[in-house]
């Protein structure tokens, strides 16, 4: 084999191993971010659960209880809150959730309004001509619950004035570090409020009234739903990226192994050739 070929192989090994360095580093970064995100998601859970409990308890108190947030309406316009990532290289993470959201409204006459969280979601929905009422790129990683309040407020306001009749949340559920599935949840109107514990029924004093407390709790509830979903999606993104980068690193390792084998074979062959040439040259002289 010619020396030119050997040079090519050597160059390829070098390029693959520098790519491998990058993917390996991304894998490590993703797994450390994943750990933090999981922690955050666990911290937020008690608040969310307590809130849900409270909401369902109030709802179960009065049979004739109704506010604008509980009454189902005829659905004409919908609002989608879609949470995707800020960066690519996370396997199918971004395209899965975006496809999922698009599939959810394919039977509707009109495109839904969108609140896009994450740069990939903002880019996608702007490019495809949606009415994007809220843009939150580079949001998830540093998201504080206070910031989610802004989003919740937009959604609640649009719902309260009747511009949208339904609010749906699209996020990626974190099943395990290896499995993430896109999911959706209806935020408004609050449809499936549970039965509550029932023990305090009718005995609780609501100050000033159940409706007033309920109307105050609902935006908070929407907020904590969004914030939980943002944190969970972020954990999913990191999980997806880690898996993608892990397999990229493995592939790079395999490629390097194969290329080194070819390289070594070529090198050996070259040496053998040279020895044969020298020996035959020496033989010819003697």
């Amino acid at each position: 084999m010619a020396t030119g070929n050997m040079k090519d192989i050597k160059r390829r090994i070098k390029s693959v191993s520098s790519t491998r360095q990058i993917t390996k580093a991304m894998e490590l970064v993703a797994s450390s971010k994943l750990r933090k995100a999981k922690q955050r998601s666990e911290n937020g859970r008690p608040y969310f659960e307590a809130q849900y409990e409270l909401l369902s308890e109030i709802a179960s108190v009065k049979k004739d209880f109704s506010t604008i947030f509980t009454e189902p309406r005829e659905v004409k316009n919908r609002l989608f809150i879609v949470i995707a990532g800020d960066r690519g290289l996370a396997g199918g993470f971004n395209s899965n959730i975006l496809k999922f959201a698009v599939a959810a409204h394919k039977d509707d006459a009109e495109k839904p309004k969108i609140i896009a969280i994450g740069r990939k979601a903002v880019d996608y929905f702007e490019k495809h001509g949606y009415d994007v009422v809220g843009k939150y790129p580079y949001f998830a990683e540093k998201a504080k619950t206070g910031n989610c309040m802004d989003i919740a407020q937009i959604a609640v306001d649009l719902f309260a004035v009747g511009e949208v009749d339904e609010v749906e949340l699209f996020y990626t559920a974190f099943v395990s570090p290896l499995v993430q599935t896109p999911e959706s949840a209806k935020l408004l109107p609050i449809a499936n409020i549970g039965e509550g514990t029932g023990e305090d029924n009718g005995l609780i004093t609501y100050d000033p009234s159940p409706e007033a407390v309920f109307d105050r709790v609902v935006p908070k509830f929407v907020m904590s739903m969004i914030s939980c979903a943002v944190v969970e999606s972020f954990a999913s993104e990191q999980g997806a990226r880690r898996t993608a980068m892990e397999s990229a690193t493995d592939n790079a390792d395999e490629m390097i192994a194969n290329l080194s084998l070819v390289y070594n074979r070529a090198r050996q062959e070259k040496i053998t050739n040279e020895i044969t040439e020298i020996v035959s040259g020496a033989n010819a002289l003697s």
């Binding site: 911290n43 008690p46 409270l54 109030i58 305090d200 609501y206 100050d207 000033p208 709790v217």
Partner: protein
């Protein structure tokens, strides 16, 4: 006095979980003191000073809007944020106050009611924190 169980839960986690014998909060309809064996009660809390007696001593905390729920076995407070007086980051609150004041003056000119409300809410919260930090 008879102690009872109090939980304070914020979106960042469980802020407090323990026994107390006296809680004083400001609800939308006025100040409210909770002792043991209080009737079941639910009310919304405004941005305010929050007083709780733990081991015979009153502690102060800055609380921003939330809900208090008193039930038979425990009292739960759900708040957007909650900090003990000695844990408040005063510098940050002062900065937040300045930013909020600037925003209020710009939004007043443009008549942007929605953003004005948000800025006022933030200003209230910052003032509340600065106030309570003095109590430590």
């Amino acid at each position: 006095m008879t102690p009872f169980k109090l939980q304070i839960i914020t979106p960042d986690g469980v802020f407090f979980d323990g026994m107390t014998d006296n809680v004083i909060v400001r609800t939308t309809v006025g100040d409210k003191g909770i002792l043991a064996h209080h009737e079941p009660y639910v009310a919304a809390i405004t941005i305010s000073k929050f007083k709780v007696r733990i081991d015979g001593e009153f502690r102060y905390a800055a609380i921003s809007s939330g809900v208090i729920k008193v039930s038979k076995d425990k009292t739960v407070i759900l708040a957007q944020s909650c900090e003990w007086a000695d844990e408040i980051d005063v510098e940050r609150a002062v900065r937040a106050k300045q930013v909020a004041e600037e925003r209020i003056s710009t939004y007043e000119k443009t008549n942007d009611q929605k953003n004005l409300d948000i800025a006022e809410f933030k200003l209230k919260r910052a003032l509340n924190r600065i106030e309570i930090a003095k109590l430590k």
